[in-house]
């Protein structure tokens, strides 16, 4: 179980990194924290000609808040998000989601951007970004563009990033009064979710508007539950028919049977995941 041969480059600047991608395209594989990529290399599932290590690129680091938005450099390590006072003040819901990711030892090296870029369908970071409809900044030697997280995924491990682009930052714009939570069912601490949900419920005067719900582990990519979102918008949080919304929310996911759970199970477990999370977010004391 040893990685195949590859060339390795570890530039200090973003420009150099982008130049490597411009030159090698699909043959180059960016390396962030490596907590998912290195096993894929060791299993020889991934076999890039060039491994582009981003760990020395200072421009990809940093956490900042401005006007209620939270911007993370793509190489922000999960532990940094968990311990950052800025994150805690601006978007504590991110910390709740990241705390589900892997283990203490892997969160110490794994990055938020790496996880979003990989696009594992049962992972928390992609779903959280989709639920927040975060701005994902992609750069190449040709320039930069911003892709909304809701438009970023098209299948398992399939994203809008082209081979010459790099995810450089993530900007979350939590709506005012948003109540944000993540809940998942997994067999063990740190396992991928059998069924998981990120919910963002902006509440003003006891009424929900612009609700966002994103499933993970429930299909081939993070999935917004649009009809349930629509049914929540305009609803009052007191006396909310959560069970009814759960049925709506469970319509779009089309999970598949795998060795960890059947598709039926994932939908069944999604019901308590949905209701328990929404009961929590609409209950007293849930306001931020």
């Amino acid at each position: 179980m040893k990685p195949p041969p590859f060339d390795y480059v570890a530039p200090d600047t973003l420009e150099e990194a982008l130049a490597v991608l411009a030159e090698h395209g699909d043959d180059a594989q960016p390396l962030a924290g490596g907590q998912s990529l290195v096993p894929m290399l060791s299993l020889r599932i991934a076999r890039p000609a060039v491994l582009l290590d981003l760990n020395r690129v200072a421009a990809l680091k940093g956490i900042s808040a401005e006007g209620g938005a939270l911007k993370l450099g793509a190489m922000t390590r999960q532990v940094e998000a968990l311990t950052s006072a800025t994150v805690e003040q601006t978007l504590p819901g991110l910390q709740e989601a990241v705390n589900f990711v892997g283990h203490f030892q892997t969160r110490n090296r794994g990055t938020i951007g790496g996880s979003i870029s990989l696009g594992e369908p049962a992972a928390e970071n992609p779903a959280f970004a989709v639920a927040m409809d975060a701005d994902l900044e992609l750069q190449s030697t040709q320039g930069s563009r911003v892709v909304r997280a809701s438009d970023y995924y098209s299948g398992p491990y399939m994203t809008a990033r082209t081979d010459t682009e790099l995810l450089t930052s993530i900007t979350y714009r939590p709506p005012a009064g948003a109540r944000i939570g993540t809940l998942e069912v997994s067999q063990r601490r740190g396992d991928f979710a059998l069924s998981g949900l990120v919910a963002c419920l902006p509440v003003s005067g006891g009424v929900i508007s612009d609700a966002r719900l994103c499933w993970f582990g429930m299909g081939s990519q993070p999935l917004r539950a649009r009809s349930a979102e629509a049914a929540l918008n305009g609803a009052s949080i007191s006396g909310l028919d959560i069970a009814g919304r759960a049925e709506l929310a469970l319509q779009p996911p089309a999970p598949k049977d795998d060795s960890h759970a059947t598709a039926d199970y994932r939908r069944q477990a999604g019901r308590p995941v949905f209701t328990r999370l929404l009961i929590r977010l609409t209950g007293e004391g849930a306001a931020q």
Binding site: P5, L43, Q187, R188, H260, A269
Partner: protein, 766 residues
Amino acid sequence: MADQLSAAPRFVGQSVGRKENKRFLTGRGRYVDDFVEAGMLHAAILRSPLARANITVDASAARELPGVWAVYTAADINDMFEPLVSVFGDAGPFGVRTVLAESQVSYVGDPIAIAIAEDRYLAEDALELIEVDYDPLDAVASISAAKSSPSCIPGRDTNLAFEMSLALPGSKEAFDAAATVVTARIAQGRISPSPMEGRGIISNPIMDGKLEVRLSSQNPHAAKSFIARSLRMQENHVRVMSPDIGGAFGQKFGVNRDFLATIAASLKLRRPVKWIEDKPEALQAGGHGRAEELELSIALDASGTMLATHFKVDDNGGADPVSAPGGLTQLMAMIHTGAYNIPTMMADCKAYFTNTCGSTAYRGPWAGETLIREITVDKAARAIGMDPVEFRRRNTVTQWPHKLPMGLMIDDVSPLETLERTVEKIGYAEFRAEQAKAREQGRYLGIGFGLCIEPTAISPGGGTDTAEVRIETTGKITAVLTCHSQGHSVETTMAQIIADEMGVDVNDVTIAFGDTDSITSGSGAGGSRQAVVAGGAAHIASGLLREKVFKLAAHFLQTEPDGLKLEGGSVVGSGPSAPSITLAALGKAANVATLTLPEGMEAGLTARYCYTPPPFTFANACHAAIVEADPGTGLVKVLRYVVAEDCGVMLNPAVVEGQIAGGVIQGIGNALWEEQHYDEGGNPSAGTYKDYILPISNDAPTIEYVHVCTPSKTPTGAKGVGEGGAIVGTPTIFNAVMDALAPFDPEFEQLPLTPSRILAGLRKTG
């Protein structure tokens, strides 16, 4: 004997800190992969990605890769070996009998070729250049497929490997007369033993025709014999050294085909070759335990008394089991009535070959009998509306010795006492009240019990171990043993026994084992045997050494050996003057200043004893678990776990509790998480430890212990304790989950109880 020592046991019975810890905690343990031989090369093995296919192999491109020394296929090495046989030497049909697959592969993971290179990275590069043409054949993965399909293994004419049916006198009549017959079924999840250290070998041909093998092996002595026989070598030309072992759980008893391929490569290249199993290999080709389907019927009279049982098992032996399939099912049938008073029985045992990884020993390999019995006992109690504890109480044997239906005699056990102590410790009556209250709040708590008699130190053909105890020139004691340790702490426990017998400090005793050149053959580590067998040998050998010491001391003290005592590292005489001589002085005289010895006395102070244990020793235990099950998500949390264990004299209570706990958590894993599942095409579900769910710290309950002590009639009074936790932990959890979810009328016939299976098994909505 006791009067020859200064006091009652001083170290046996104490939780003496482990002597092994210093090296393990500082990173100085030495496992196979830590050894480097001069000129050593590294092996990697190409394995089949298909369950069954005809193959043609072309390794020419791989052989050209710089840094690659050789690539061997079946054509290159299989002729070096005798057809493979069972590692335990048992007769009976065997599966794949060649080292590398020849024209047909028989399971996903079947070894096809071995590449030898300067390092492991290059060896794996070479594997990618081997061209294999696979012509797929229909795979036979499950027992039901094996029953209905022609032979799926090359060289065999049927998939049926073993069959035994018996109906003891009165059994059919008992079922005919029964007021109630209760039947339960369960299919086990296949367990990957999953020691954290993979299997590993360094094979080193020495240039005088000898072969030195460093092997992660539970029993280097058996490995030596097996390797020599397989290679048609003279047995004393093979030396096996088994260093620190990073866990084994039965898996490292065998000498597998990949080991033999590595040995062949080293012989052909005349260079040391190392092969270390990686974890995808471990999961797919490292041997599996518990691959069986079980059924039990219990016949009851109107008062709830058990009259007879009918035990059925189908064992999936896979393609290349390490021992002949079926033997285990016979043992299961023989002991499956456990602690209950069941006068007669029927049994149907079958074993099959399939296109799956071969079966291997795994912690309490016969555990299926306890699993199905304890599940069925709970089901029977429910069926007749009797409390499961009361039902067990009424049917538990109280008169010992007790003869099992098939004739095995059991003695020195205390099942009823362990049951009562468990009931008391867990607070059974109080729990039922708590359970009712929790249900009102929508929380589903459940309690499960498991009662088990565990055969330990099974030694039907003899199963000896030897201890050779010597006094060094400094008076310190060294003992060489034939046993081994895969985390069992025998460097500590054996020293405790010897220290007590020799009246010295435990730190003055050093234990050595693991090298077949240093001592005669023995039984190694496995089958909960070290405390009984190696302990018995150490105990007796120490007594023999003590007699020699007294004889020599008497010479120097000018007295008679009678009346001498050993204490504090000295031999002390009796009487007011109490003359004494230190073991150091005796050690020097015996080993160095040998001219001071009495005329005709042999120099040196060494005693050796080869101990043959009884064919069976029996430990017993009752476990109880309280769980909370979530009918919404199917998740189960273990809230409390009580074990009342009778393993006789505890050499070291901390070691005993460690063995119990490790077993219990594996038993919980067997019940809730662990499974290598094959689909009908023979594809295994787990390629990594992301997919094979091992128990983690966060889910481990605190285990509460009750120790009951009924000594065995062996020299130490100990009984084994290594496997019971894993055996009875599984049904205990199963029964607790059934109890918790009783309002939903659950039915589960497949382990593990994954969240998915739990929700699917609920037949009623709250």
